[in-house]
Symmetry: C2
């Protein structure tokens, strides 16, 4: 492997127009290789060394690092595998300690190396890509390798490549922070399977996305994928939906496949950052145009037909058999001049245009490419350069020359019209994604603002204190208190059992609705007392009966990677059957709360459909924000469910219908209880 | 164009090992070309002609056909464009008439020609593909051209290619019927934008799918795509969801992109037809394995981990650092021998295996390819040949030689692991798709079995007669009848207005629930009579009040392409917000009814969740079948909605809660009424 690495570095260096630093070979026998001089210790080289590339067996790595440290080497790439990814955590700790003692930082181990094209530096076994503006950061070396191989095949320029492997020292967070400031990088492509510190990752990502687009593949979307990442990197992936929220809140653009990532990078390098959603499709063949239109609409682009004035302009030079909808079908007779004029006319009204040419062996595709490039040039000079022209010239074998021509002139070419519109869609999302990157993800944690509640009446009072509206309620321990409280609140009332041992009150019959008078109240109280006997029965909590409100649920939990996460949905079947729930890494602000609310499919029910009134969405947003802040004000808080929350018509606010609080302590207690007395014995 | 066609045909013919029939050139001047003799009329050739390839201007085509007819030519491919696709319907009718009079059948006009590789026949401007077992039928010539170009680039053998353009004579139905019997074709790839005769199309498709897989792209999935197909082929596409149901009922496999279609054909040519869903992924790089596992689970494959015995077998020869989950990660050290042994061990328990090799320039990928091929051979000999090995060797540039080696040995290679599992998923779906191809789609239509009902009481009686259960009900015209009927049915009752002019009873306040006694019944009757005054008020229909049933809806409508279509869902928000509705081309049988029911996401509510009982699904299936037959027993039927239908717990059946019938006649009447007296004036 050392031999292959030296060969790569020499080959890469030989492309340089300037002189590149020398390569030294270090091994026990001090043998040189491929003309590079050999030493048996780094310290013996006797010249400054910028980077150590380490590919020696796992057990030797700590010693190699100590040797490097003695020679004042400050950076290393450890290619060697066989550490935590195969359960060998101790060996990895040895590497980290040796590096720390030597004052040395490194990527790896178990990585595929790094590339810095501006320095002609290629200590990697992957394909050497052309130089350019895209940085590739990959937890999987092979994924990085695929992107690099495609970069070479399809001429995408790369600035930096880092495969960081086990991330024992430098990780995705360090690399993102570096690339945010890197003047040689305009676009970042990131492949991750797991992240160690969710919030620091989000913070680094936000720093990047405020300056340049970051396209992310987060693998492990499914159960199978998550099991695989576990065995592959030795670390467990968090819930995919939380990652999804975290990426969105950080302004990153998530894609699923390496093809999409590659296409997006290609588009971002060539196209303006503030691209709109209106796209025109110009084609010389109907079917491929239809497929592109279908996909365009599916990925959220606006594939509207041209307005009458534009159709008029097109019909001035296009014959009657050309379809002037969208796609605009020039038919197989379409010439370069038609492409140019059609694209130019369309770009006066549209933000972007896709030029599809499905060539046959006899078509003059170079003429068409010239027409497309002329239109792109015109668009760049005439307008404020916020317009985009992209191409889908195919099939590859036939159009290789024209594709090269297009891409040399800044018109990115995609394998199909569908892939072209998908890439345009990602570019058009960047501006909004960047603008909506959420609030500070590392909030200061307040001192414990008081003890956390255990019983429902305490929890309701605590919510009230924290600005979350609850209905009037009474806690009653005796029959007399029950009657007095019920009369005060006014019948009908709701009565619920209160016991620290009963978490799921409904399951044990501990929630009685619509209690309509003294006699019934008395009976209900005794029934609840009976249910609670032997379960530390404390009394009942009594509320007025609330009807005709829209029920919603608010939830808070702690994700192992990202910490407090807030959830919002309608509860019940909406959550169970449709998983119609929105998640955000907490805390959130008003804008994020509103985006979150409108994200669920059942949001229409809150806006007022089928004769129902519009609900108080402002009040809901405000409460969501306060709710999302609770875990930072009360660090002992583990989980809260407000379910249901009664949401009233506009202007009338909301009230919490039920609350369940789990503190860290309670969590442990609950486990202990479970072992001793099973909850069902309480009955 | 004529010149290019002759060149193609000559080049294709020159590949033949046997002698191919001669080419004659016909044009007004009688000029020959490229060594082929020229004539000014087909009749003057003086030798039998098998096929006329017509590329002359549109206005000349009818005369050319007459000339062909005189020379007893019976088949033509009309490449010429400029007919119905550009609104020139009259010219197309001229072509059809000329062909009919001349006793000649043709494909086109506006088509990209045909290919028959076994006859070395290439009258097309598209790429000449290698010979093989896949037939490509495309409404868009360019889509066909893309598949042919990829077929050449990636060595997929083609038997027949037909671009049928405007389908003025031979259409997708004729071609499918032909290909069902074609012994040279094992797999059919079909691209359609619109079909003319929905049921004949389904029937032809069923004939095919019972013998061989048919992979279909139906373009125009979205609004933009549908507008585009309209302008492209001059014919309007039906609702996409109806097409989707029709394709499924015909046993076809629908895909969205040309890549997927291409991958599926490649898989079907090489793999067994009765493939199961259990897939193992063997890789030499973690990331690509994870992405394949994610996608595998998403496309419905079972990507389970190996059982302990298999893990044991693997650990006998794999070192400890290899992950033995699924994917099985051999790491970059994976050899051909490891691939062979791992694949063989896995195929004892799994139905299929994907061998992923993400190569770097220094890896011996030929060794790996040999290992994979050995495992594939072993699987084919040891087992009953119902196992599959596929590969994802990449990147293309590096592994070209090993990919060729794999494919020559029947191991299809895919561009990525994700695409490999997607193709496997389609193969595994074929057997079930074929087995579930629905009942006869061209049912005999009975004589009108009696007059169709107009008013609700008539409609209820009519449903009852047709075996669809309705509640007891009374039609009452006077106060006395109302009281008598209500008492007979037993309070509480539901009372609804009856008027031929009021279709949406609820909207005008014409449905009153929970009428609980004589006094209320009297009041409600007078209120309804008042609402109905001036609207041809006929009386009220009275039902017992039904509560605590699960409401569902059954609908029937007529699709312009496919005729009667039956819909099933839960109605209300389930339909409005989630579009949670299942469609089938009617009629359906019990099995199809059950598949249809279980297809909706809210099916779980019918099975019994959250303490609700399981509903009477057998009764529902039976009623769905009878309901789906109605339009064939009553041809005048245009639309029926049964909404709600009250579905009771298992064994207790169901009852129709409301019915709306629209007959063809009523449809016209309604339009007329709308013009004269707007419905809202009735209030």
């Amino acid at each position: 492997m050392g031999y292959e690495l030296i060969k790569q570095m020499q080959a890469g260096g030989s492309d340089a127009r300037e002189e590149v630093p020398p390569i030294y070979v270090v091994n026990p026998k001090g043998q040189g290789a491929l003309g590079a001089p050999g030493y048996d210790a780094v310290a013996k080289i006797g010249a400054p060394v910028d980077l150590a590339v380490i590919a020696s067996p796992p057990s030797t790595v700590p010693a190699v690092l100590r040797d490097c440290g003695e020679a004042n080497v400050v950076a290393a790439a450890i290619i060697t595998a066989g550490f935590s990814e195969v359960g060998n955590d101790e060996a990895e700790r040895g590497v980290v300690e040796a590096a720390e003692r030597s004052g040395l930082r490194f990527v790896g181990p178990n990585c595929a190396g790094v590339v810095n094209t501006s320095h002609y530096l290629y200590p990697t076994l992957e394909t050497r890509p052309p130089a350019g503006r895209v940085a590739v950061v990959a937890q999987s070396g092979a994924i990085g390798g695929m992107v690099l191989a495609w970069a070479k095949q399809y001429r995408l320029g790369i600035s930096k490549f880092v495969s960081y492997g086990n991330a024992a020292d430098l990780n995705e967070i360090d690399l993102l922070r570096y690339l945010a400031d890197d003047p040689e990088t305009d676009v970042i492509a990131l492949y991750v399977e797991t992240v160690g510190h969710g919030r620091r990752f989000m913070d680094a990502l936000q720093t990047c996305t405020r300056r340049k687009p970051v396209v992310v593949i987060k693998a492990g979307r499914t159960g199978a994928g998550q099991r695989a990442t576990l065995s592959h990197t030795g670390s467990m992936a968090g819930a995919d939906r939380v990652y999804d929220a975290a990426l969105r809140q950080s302004g990153a653009l998530r894609v699923e496949s390496v093809e999409e990532m590659f296409d997006a990078c290609k588009a971002f390098v060539n196209l303006p950052r503030d691209l709109g959603r209106r796209v025109a499709i110009v084609t010389n063949s109907g079917g491929p145009g239809v497929l592109a239109a279908d996909r365009g609409e599916e990925v959220g682009l606006d594939v509207a037909q041209p307005d009458p004035a534009t159709q008029e302009a097109l019909s001035e030079f296009l014959p009657g058999h050309c379809a002037l909808g969208n796609p605009i079908d020039l038919t197989v007779q379409g010439t370069g001049a038609w492409y140019r004029r059609a694209l130019s006319a369309l770009l006066e009204r549209y933000d972007a245009a896709v030029a599809i040419n499905v060539s046959t062996p006899y078509l003059d595709h170079m003429d068409l490419a010239r027409g497309v490039c002329q239109a792109a040039e015109e668009a760049a000079t005439v307008t404020d350069a916020d317009k985009a022209v992209v191409a889908a010239f195919l099939p590859e074998r036939i159009v290789a020359e024209s594709v090269a021509y297009l891409e040399e002139r800044g018109v990115p070419n995609f394998a199909t019209g569908e892939r072209a519109v998908a890439a345009l869609s990602l570019v058009s999302q960047y501006q909004q994604a960047e603008a909506t990157a959420g609030r500070d993800v590392i909030p200061s944690v307040a001192d414990r603002a008081g003890p956390l509640p255990v019983l429902e009446p305490e929890a309701m009072a605590w919510l009230d204190k924290n600005g979350i509206p609850v209905p009037p309620f009474r806690f009653a321990e005796t029959e007399n208190e029950v009657l007095e409280s019920s009369r005060e609140l006014g019948y009908p009332v709701v009565m619920k059992i209160v016991s620290p041992q009963i978490l799921h009150k409904s399951d044990v019959g501990g929630v009685i609705l619509d209690v309509s008078g003294d006699e019934e109240a008395r009976q209900v109280f005794h029934r609840l007392a009976e249910i609670g006997s032997g379960c530390d029965f404390r009394g009942v909590v009594i509320y007025p009966m609330i009807e005709d409100a829209q029920e919603v649920l608010l939830g808070l939990s702690r994700d192992p990677q990202f910490g407090p996460v807030v959830a919002f949905g309608l509860g019940g079947i909406y959550t169970e059957i449709w998983q119609d729930i929105a998640l955000r890494v907490a805390p959130i602000d008003q804008d994020e709360a509103k985006r979150m609310m409108s994200e669920i499919a059942s949001f229409r029910l809150l806006e007022g459909v089928r004769g129902e009134p519009r609900r108080d969405l402002d009040a809901l947003a405000e409460v969501l924000v306060r709710f999302s802040e609770l875990p930072f004000r009360y660090p002992g808080l583990c989980e809260i469910d407000l379910n249901p929350v009664f949401l009233f018509p506009e202007g009338e606010g909301l009230l919490v219908g039920d609350v369940r609080v789990i503190t860290e302590r309670a969590d442990h207690e609950r486990d202990a209880e479970k072992r001793e007395t099973k909850e069902r014995h309480c009955r």
